[in-house]
């Protein structure tokens, strides 16, 4: 099953894919530009992975002080940072390096506490696409990555669709890519995750209970480049979705 949450005609709706765009639960079929796309599920705890693709580790190696690790590099975000498909993300005027990150988002469907690797996938409800922006100008070496870099309003994009786990044959065999204004800038495959999904669920549930609606952003491969005001950034994962986002400037916010 593949669903979205959209706003249309003064109400929230569940939508499903349709050849003409999206179909609301009441039968209305609309072009995808006609609805407002929300994150496709009620977002609980947002758990993000840093450096979970070997090539991205190499890409950032000069900036980072570590290259090897024995524990997944995890940080948290608040649901307030999240927006949906076709949304607008703010690039502050003083930023010089703001980049996207295309990530497979794993949505938890059943409470998970001290779950063994072999049982982990039973706790996955489904998947969506995440574009997890970072503004590296604001990086400080205190509780990295600090929230000012990674937990900004409008900077975590989720959607368009929630795709049920049963509809994805192998989440560790999905090609993902990002394009900026139509030019492909990032390509990878979820097969290259350092810590795969069962490993992440086993690790996380070992100290924190995961609940339905919690989401694990599984990290990004190399190929992150700076984006500017006006850029259309499309993060896409085969079989999961194509997530569109547009960068806007401070002017839009009256700043």
């Amino acid at each position: 099953m593949t669903t979205a949450r959209v706003a249309y005609g003064g109400a929230l709706h569940e939508a499903t894919p349709h050849a003409g765009g999206v179909e609301l639960e009441d039968g209305r079929v609309l072009p995808e530009e006609a609805v407002v796309w929300l994150p496709p599920f009620e977002v609980g705890t947002v758990i993000a992975l840093g450096l979970n693709y070997a090539d991205h580790v190499r890409e950032l190696a000069r900036e980072l002080t570590v290259t090897a690790k024995d524990e997944p590099l995890v940080f948290l975000k608040t649901p307030g940072a999240v927006i949906g498909h076709r949304g607008f993300t703010r690039r502050p005027r003083d930023a010089t390096f703001m980049h996207y990150e295309c990530e497979l988002a794993v949505v938890i469907g059943a409470t998970a506490r001290k779950v063994a690797r072999a049982d982990a996938m039973r706790h996955v409800a489904g998947y969506t696409v995440c574009n997890d922006y970072a503004i590296r100008d604001y990086l400080e070496n205190w509780y990295r990555p600090n929230l000012r870099v990674k937990n900004r309003d409008t900077c975590t994009v989720l959607g368009p669709w929630f795709v049920a786990a049963g509809d994805i044959a192998d989440p560790h065999r999905l090609a993902l890519r990002t394009s900026v204004n139509g030019k492909v800038t990032q390509q990878g495959n979820t097969a290259d995750m350092v810590n795969d999904i069962p490993a992440l669920i086993e690790y996380l549930s070992g100290f924190m209970t995961l609940s339905a609606g919690d989401v694990i952003l599984t990290g990004t491969p190399d190929g992150v480049v700076n984006v500017d005001v006006g850029d259309e950034v499309v993060t896409e994962i085969d079989g999961v979705g194509r997530l569109v986002n547009t960068i806007v400037g401070d002017d839009t916010f009256g700043i």
Binding site: L76, G80, A81, W142, I255
Partner: protein
């Protein structure tokens, strides 16, 4: 099992589940690091507010038992004022910041002691039930000055720390302003003011209490993993 739910179910005090705290907001705590702040891996003193998140699995009410993982003998008992947001705060001016607060409560932020602030594992701060909030929210108007409250922490009935909400790098108003510069605070969100230098530690079997006279006493107890039984 999730930690016992926290709900101040009387608008505008219904909590959203978002709890955020600042690292090293206590000026003495930052000063205690000395020259280390300029050395690797930090290389510079913090500029913006350095924040951490207590996710929803950590939230618990007063009286809750906090399980100490089998891997550690003690938890640090961080005590903070909790500012419960009552009006959406986005890029607010410090002079108007406190007007966005519905009221104040107490937060017991329990963490696995760690001496690195560079990139500590979230398991130090995201343990189930490790963020107690309560015992109640007092209306903003009933507290004259959130930056001048005395806080007493006791362990097994013995005073372990006497501190307060003063001496912060960022006052309550300044912290709300600086956080809301990049992340909008919404009604029911809780922003901690920060934990003072010298937070006590507790081990399994001990009880702790955090008291601010005008707010009340937030209590909890520590239990060893595998020995979680009702009080």
């Amino acid at each position: 099992m999730l930690a016992s739910p926290v709900a101040f179910d009387a608008p505008p005090y219904r909590l959203s589940g978002v709890v955020v705290g600042p690292l090293l907001n206590h000026a003495a705590a930052l000063a205690a690091l000395g020259d280390a702040v300029r050395e690797a891996p930090y290389k510079a003193a913090p500029k913006g507010p350095i924040l951490y998140i207590k996710p929803r699995n950590t939230l618990a009410a007063t009286g809750a038992a906090v399980t100490i993982p089998a891997t550690g003998a003690e938890l640090e008992i961080g005590a903070s004022l909790g500012m419960v947001i009552g009006a959406t705060a986005c890029r607010v001016d410090p002079r108007q910041a406190l007007a966005h607060v519905a009221g104040y409560t107490l937060v017991a932020d329990l963490s696995v002691p760690h001496d690195t602030y560079y990139r500590p594992s979230i398991r130090f701060k995201a343990l189930d039930g490790s963020c107690l909030i309560g015992p109640r929210v007092v209306a903003r108007a009933s507290l004259a000055d959130p930056d001048a409250l005395a806080i007493r922490i006791s362990v097994d009935g013995v005073e372990a720390q006497s501190t307060g909400t003063g001496g912060m790098v960022r006052s309550a108003a300044r912290l709300i302003a600086d956080v809301s510069e990049f992340m909008t605070l919404r009604p029911g969100d809780v922003l901690m003011l920060g934990v003072a230098l010298g937070a006590p530690r507790g081990r399994a079997g001990q009880r702790f209490a955090i008291e601010v006279q005008s707010i009340g006493t937030l209590e909890g107890r520590l239990v060893a993993e595998g020995e979680e039984t009702p009080a």
